[in-house]
Symmetry: C3
Subunit: 479 residues, 3 copies
């Protein structure tokens, strides 16, 4: 198996957990036939592989388990997009709820197409230290195509891949969509649809894939030993940094801060839908973290996956309980919205290292995630940064915490983890800032006109109200 | 394995992908013991099967994979009923939303019972050219019962089935429910509950099973080589034809068309719920198409299934993006509702042939599906056909397109595909038309009284309002 | 395999289906090394196991199947919490809907933590006749930890477990959360949040685990031969008894019963959300019952699981159809709410014995469940017991029926089944009653003040309204 090839540095083997078949091109004399992209279908074992190597290969049933794990867990991660949509569209005022639906269904589509045409190759194919290939589109490997066409001799080369090429693509694709979802919520209620979609396109075609290439793709951070099991930094902080840059340039919503500087409460317009969104996210997160085990075919894999699910659940539960308790301390009452966001923070915090067998660590990590998220929400308000759904504290702050927490419970190196956290921030934040700035200065603009914002994006920009038959309260910004 | 039996014509082997154990009765001297329905449990291998035949049998782990694939993907397809319910109940005016809930939970129940008692046997058991058996109920095979009772000798006969009998039944059952769901949306807001349920009963007990017998059951269309992987025609067009007949007989809703003939916009009353419905359908469609690979036990199967999921997602994404762009062209603005229906159209279009390894074809097929659906929606309005949720363009128009598109990307024969499309239409549309007509002329009637329609079916027919505590806008039909 | 160990009485082998590794301590000389909790990792096979015993062990792929079955079905059961939340928050009046969200997200968190720290050990570890161990926390077995750390020699001992320790824990944990969810709905709209959470803590840490220890844990009821496949009694009746005690002590909601004693209708405030909740529950129930097969690794297991899913679906469908018809009989119209609760009743009724191969029994059992639930709802109203969502008829009444119905279709012994039903009631009801009473008498109290109840718990206790922007109807209690 290539992952145990002595050519690969040891830390690469441990940390580049998502490294797909593509990385095999690092050892070109061996893997080339697998990667000639459909042109030559010579099975690798015909090229003088020592037979002992084949003996190392996995069984067909392991191959099925590994691939199916990507598919079924990936489907659950796709479902998280519905969760973000519900969370966000229930959190905004009714006058902007349809626009949230539009942005989210749009971003999932854009992310899927961009990652297919460009993103995946940048992230995983021929990755050197910093970036992968500029190839266009991605497809099944040559042995897979041969096998599908009935060439049973292609089977050994297929099994060497460990899982089907496109099952891995599918699982990776739903992750990039998650990253884009994070941005949508923070920027709700004032950012123009077209600019948001353009930003999403660049984020999912380039920015996220570059971060991914450094890490899961086998680039310089992976080679340093940076650990991020399912993406506290790679997915959640990336989304959080992009969102932070956006909200800083777009500015706060009209009336979010009173003349005296206090934040005006903007409670969710539909608490049931917000709660549904949280449950969807929690449900989908089992796929997000569980599937990131990347393999299911052996007892060891399924034991690890079991621990991952247990820790994921414990961290979320602790995130809720502790942030509720903490809200009582700082707000004087148990605040449901704080509690719900605490669940997300707990989930984000455990995502970087959910494999520990001492499960109480998951409770502690999730609990601290919940506290940091709640405190971060307060801090952003003080700084007059208007993040509509608390995406930045939940995904960026808890994501940083989770990445560092790997050192406590999963044996990460603190310096390496900090380098990873800072490097991703130092790349994503300024690039996003420049992109949002360029959009703001372009004819498009990033902020809707004042009258559209007052009227709501649904009626003013989209032309479809979320609840057209319901009588709603008038708003008042006069204080 | 029966599917490679030389008695079966070659095209049957390729196209009758859903053919269950039942078809084995075609070779009665061999399969009879499996199919004597619980009366005789003599394992097949005792009847002089050549031992080489057993060597062809699948392993127990393949059997588990195949059966489990039906179960887990089938559960996702069941969930699509929730998606249709949300899509439809959010799309109608608030005064008819409870009735949609009633019709959908009712149709899923009726479909499940009708398919158990009658439908499955008509579709799959002893299918000749046109129809299966009139037997009552369906159950585990005799070797399965023997195995469950502890007779380990029954295992080889069980493994010959490739998957457990009832896992296949379960997967087929959720498909018939999908067909019925399509009808519900088009006919919303004016069709009487009892007539709808009676129509559903006939559709799921007879009409759909007959179409299914011709195709997946191994009948004349399958023998011609008609290809429809997961049912663009068999499920979606069937539902679409049945809906079209219904809306033509029921007529448009009061006030849908203005005195000057223009269509009055009837925007969704709850956009969040509609969007949730679309996400549920997209999520469930991975089961719909993925499970239709019918097997998971080999590397080849899971590779194909991976391609199916990837193509399904790409087609839906393309359907959204292109129909949004197209809506800007023909409506002057990006229309969320058009975009959401474009996702469905993309999904329906790829359903007939989602296995291609050149994935850009999925993008193209989904995109064209989205355009055709949007154009079809406009066309229906011109024809004054009132399809409340756009079910006919999304399921019938895109379904026809998808069935033809198989020729482009998956090697179908254009004549055969057209024969299939036309034959299904020539059967389902007139039979449905006659049935709706008979119901309309019966004492039941199919259309609610004018005052019930004005008041809404919720208050007028069902007695349960969807949102009883909310203050709603009065409606006005005066222009 | 320990389950076939002659040391275990025969009925234990048949009935203690959930018995985890823990029970192996009953044969301490053999299993001890597995259970020394991380201190000694000597694989069992080094301790003089006869080699033939290892030959009995399952294959690695069976181990993966069994464990993965717990994980994926467990995730679906977790999703049922979202179903309960939607069902309940859509059923209550808008003024109490946020509180339902709070209670449900809170109870799921509390249940998960309580079962981790205390509950699981009480239920499954070192169970004698009545109760398990008071140990704190639960974790992977020693051989699992060894295997994860790279000791391949630990594999045989791992495979002896049949499935990964924490996959079982995860599956059991989501069941305890279901039990707690049942209580929430019945007590809605008047019970104080803090008291509810305290009750939940005791229910999930102690009460449910004790019932579980008697049965799935291998205690006295299991030894008698009590059969309850997935928990009609153990989960649903337990929740129902706890709810009944609570509503009796808390009393009816203000205005629920008119001065003349008639029950005032309190229709759901959001029928779409209620219907969504039912679909979620139905969807999740496939995991609840399907996963309770406990194994997936053999043809026999997956055949049984297929039958379980089919029967589950048929019972729910029959529950709906029959309770709708019955509602027409006793209410004069098809009542959607009755129908929806009939689905739950059908599901609960089939839960105790869903494995029969004569599937029409599932139709009958579900249908009777629906009738009993509808009748039970009427009866509770006569008794002036105010169960907001009909949880007691659906979970307790149908749960008792389902437990008895095992005798009809799955070979249970009627006396044993009745003893189980009565014993659980005789334990859960009085203990819950005492606990609710103690809470009522404590400074906390269990009932909100009259003005809070009139205003609604959302504004009065939680401080977050469910739909703050929507104009709502005023209520009127004057008659």
């Amino acid at each position: 198996m290539i992952r145990r090839d002595s050519r690969l540095p040891n830390n690469l083997i441990q940390n580049v957990k998502r490294i797909p078949n593509a990385v095999r091109e690092i050892v070109p004399w061996r893997i080339a036939p697998v990667y000639l992209g459909g042109f030559i279908a010579v099975p690798a074992f015909l090229l003088g592989e020592p037979s002992v190597d084949f003996a190392e290969g996995i069984s067909e049933s392991e191959f099925v388990f590994n691939s199916f794990s990507f598919l079924i867990w990936g489907v659950l991660v796709m479902w998280m997009c519905a969760g973000f949509t519900m969370l966000e569209s229930g959190s905004v005022r009714t006058k902007n709820a349809s626009m949230i639906c539009m942005k989210n269904i749009g971003l999932y589509s854009i992310a899927g197409l961009a990652f297919f045409f460009v993103g995946y190759n940048l992230m995983y194919v021929d990755v050197g230290d910093f970036i992968g290939s500029l190839r266009f589109m991605y497809t099944s490997s040559a042995p897979e195509v041969a096998l599908l066409e009935g060439d049973a001799d292609a089977l050994p080369a297929v099994l060497e891949q460990d899982y089907s090429t496109m099952s891995d693509w599918f699982f990776q694709m739903v992750f990039v969509a998650t990253t884009a979802s994070i941005v949508s919520g923070a920027l709700a209620e004032r950012v123009r649809m077209w600019s948001f979609f353009l930003f999403t396109l660049v984020l999912t075609a380039v920015i996220y894939p570059v971060v991914g290439a450094w890490t899961w793709g086998g680039g310089w951070l992976a080679q340093m030993g940076f650990q991020d099991f399912a993406g506290s930094t790679i997915v959640h902080s990336t989304g959080g940094w992009a969102a932070l840059a956006g909200v800083m340039i777009a500015g706060a919503r009209l009336g979010k801060f009173r003349r005296n500087g206090e934040a005006r409460p903007t409670p969710p317009s539909n608490v049931l839908i917000v709660t549904l969104g949280i449950f969807i996210l929690w449900f989908g997160w089992f796929g997000f973290n569980g599937g990131s085990q990347l393999k299911l075919g052996t007892a060891s894999d399924v034991i690890a996956m079991s621990n991952v699910l247990v820790n994921t659940n414990l961290a979320a539960a602790a995130g809720i309980v502790v942030s509720l308790a903490f809200s009582r301390f700082i707000l004087g009452r148990m605040d449901l919205v704080v509690g719900l966001n605490g669940a997300i923070a707990g989930l984000v915090a455990i995502t970087a290292g959910p494999t520990m067998t001492d499960h109480y660590w998951a409770v502690i990590i999730g609990a601290i995630g919940g506290i940091l998220c709640t405190a971060g929400t307060k801090l952003l308000e003080k700084l007059k940064i208007d993040d509509v759904v608390g995406a930045i504290p939940a995904h960026l702050v808890a994501g940083i915490w989770g990445t560092i927490a790997v050192c406590i419970a999963a044996g990460g190196d603190i310096v390496t983890q900090l380098v990873g956290v800072l490097a991703v921030g130092a790349f994503v934040f300024p690039v996003s800032w420049l992109l949002w700035k360029a959009l703001a200065l372009s004819p498009l603009g990033i902020r809707v006109e004042r009258d559209v914002e007052e009227l709501g994006q649904d009626a003013g920009e989209l032309g479809i109200e979320a609840y057209p038959e319901f009588v709603l309260m008038p708003e008042n910004y006069d204080d």
